[in-house]
Amino acid sequence: MSNLAVLPIVLPLIAAIILIFFNSNVKISRLLTKVFSLAGLAVAGYVFLHVMENGTITLQTGSWVAPYGIILVVDALSAVLILTTNIVSVACAFYAAHAGLGEKEKFYFYPFFFFLITGVTGAFITGDLFNLFVFFEVLLMASYALIVLGGDKVQLRESIKYLLINLFSSMLFVTAIAFIYGVVGTINMAQISERVGEVEQQGILTTIAFLLFFVFATKAALFPLYYWLPNSYIVPNPVISALFGALLTKVGVYSITRVFTLIFTHRLELTHEFFIWIAGLSMIFGVIGALSTNNIKLIVAYNIIPAIGYMIMGIGIFNQEALSGSIYYLVQDMIVKAALFLLVGVIAYVAGTSDLRKMGGLIHHYPVLGWLLFISAFVLAGIPPFSGFIGKLLLLEGAFQGGDIVIAIIALITSLLILYSVIKIFIRGFWGDKDTIKNLEKKSTKGMIGPIVFLLSFTVILGIGAEFFYPISDSIAEYLLDPEIYIDSVLKE
């Protein structure tokens, strides 16, 4: 019994409600947003330290005993992800005031921002399959509103697609929960896991597992269900794209991790073998997409898909190294994707176009911007001093140990192509003559660089301080491989 577990959900929720009252006063909204996001980061940091010291926090809401009430569980994995979510939210909160949102700030941008954070942290914390669905809807509703905010023609077009695919997969999610409730008679994840274990995942349970995977794969944009993602992620304001790219797909990855390390772990040769294939195909097709375009925003959006592939590959291989790598990669990718979306937002803003063929020579005007992009390209590809390296190294180690050589080779080649796709922005956009873009106006990037530096500094810390962070991800992986610990912490007598 500790109300600490609910604070990361309640704090942004309260912030959102308060901000609805102040929607027309932009100055107060901005100030409150910064204050609340910093408070959220402080709470998340405290929760993280508490979990690291004292182990899993569980909260039985409304004092109802374990399998009967709604249980909130903050274990090490959730705590890490909440902390990362709040780091991203702080960066976006500080960027938002300078992002050129204009009138949109008055139309409930900040409340929706915090509702999105509420949904994401709620999905990370809940210990209940139906509550996971509810929090998915909370974050999706907020994302529908954010994607269409402003009402441009392209935004309307892309939001229709986004809404339809997510509505469909949500309906499928409810159906899958209905099936699982029909078979095992509970929706508490710990108890489902116990009961699935008792019958060793026989009969229809594997079908339900695939149904759930299909649902989460749609949310996480895996092959072949990623076609909705790239275009719908580039149409809103960069700060909204950054939130989406950093958080939304990762909730899908988290759900796959949770469900397939806790509940459906008895037929690995069917489920997890399948994930490796899906992961490989996601990497190949995602990176092909990133190479095929000259739109810098689209390049970054397509790069989400191979990254998701890496994470799912770790879950598919299912040994300690690979899972540990998967978690390391998940955390660093949330941060670097947010940084990259914000970066290309600034680049498109200063260059006045997001088409690479019309750019060039930006390094003469904006050197800081150029080098930040250079660093984030290296982080993304996994060059040693940065954080991308550790995650990929662990994943490859896991793949070689598990004997999955093909996926390891695909992952390596994909890394190279990812580097090429992002460094292309640097080469084409920043190199070249000073006057490649005619009539380039010097625009102020005040307030936009700070949040990006803030985010990228975490990737450097995560890379250089791997000695310190690796034991955390390793212990999480060890914990994930033994569902008994989770079940005991929730259903203790």
Binding site: M1, N3, V10, L59, G62
Partner: protein, 142 residues
């Protein structure tokens, strides 16, 4: 344009709208022990207000009920979250509810539960959401 004389509609509306309001409040309070509750109560209240809008026109009812429905949504949310967070003060887990028996002059002994405050939040949010949706579409000029 000559406005049709809708005397019958208006007279019956003033009767039916208040019957509806009364029934919606009844079902809101009945929610604990009988079918009903904040959601259905809020929907029916919104139905009653909507009936007034349909028969009297937007300008008249706006004057009659000067309510900002967007604020109603956030107030409802604040009340619902407040009842959840309120349990922090008593050291109980989030969303813990309590109840007690109280004696009132006319009603006699009544069971009062804090769950009703949560329901009140739901009620206000539902009224606010439904009215915001309908009035936004109705006021759309383009």
């Amino acid at each position: 344009m000559i406005r049709p004389n809708n005397l019958i509609l208006r007279t019956t509306t003033s009767l039916i709208a208040f019957l509806l309001l009364g029934f919606s409040i009844y079902s809101f309070f009945a929610g604990h022990n009988a079918p009903g509750g904040g959601f259905i109560g809020g929907l029916m209240t919104a139905g009653a207000i909507l009936l007034l809008y349909m028969s009297y026109g937007i300008e008249t009812v706006d004057e009659m009920l000067p309510i900002n429905y967007t604020t109603l949504i956030s107030s409802g949310l604040a009340i619902a979250v407040g009842t959840g967070v309120g349990s922090f003060i008593f050291g109980a887990p989030f969303l813990s509810h309590t109840f007690g028996y109280f004696h009132f002059p006319i009603f006699g002994e009544v069971e009062l539960a804090t769950a009703m405050l949560f329901d009140l939040g739901v009620y206000l949010t539902v009224v606010g959401v439904v009215m915001t949706i309908i009035l936004t579409i109705a006021n759309d000029q383009e």
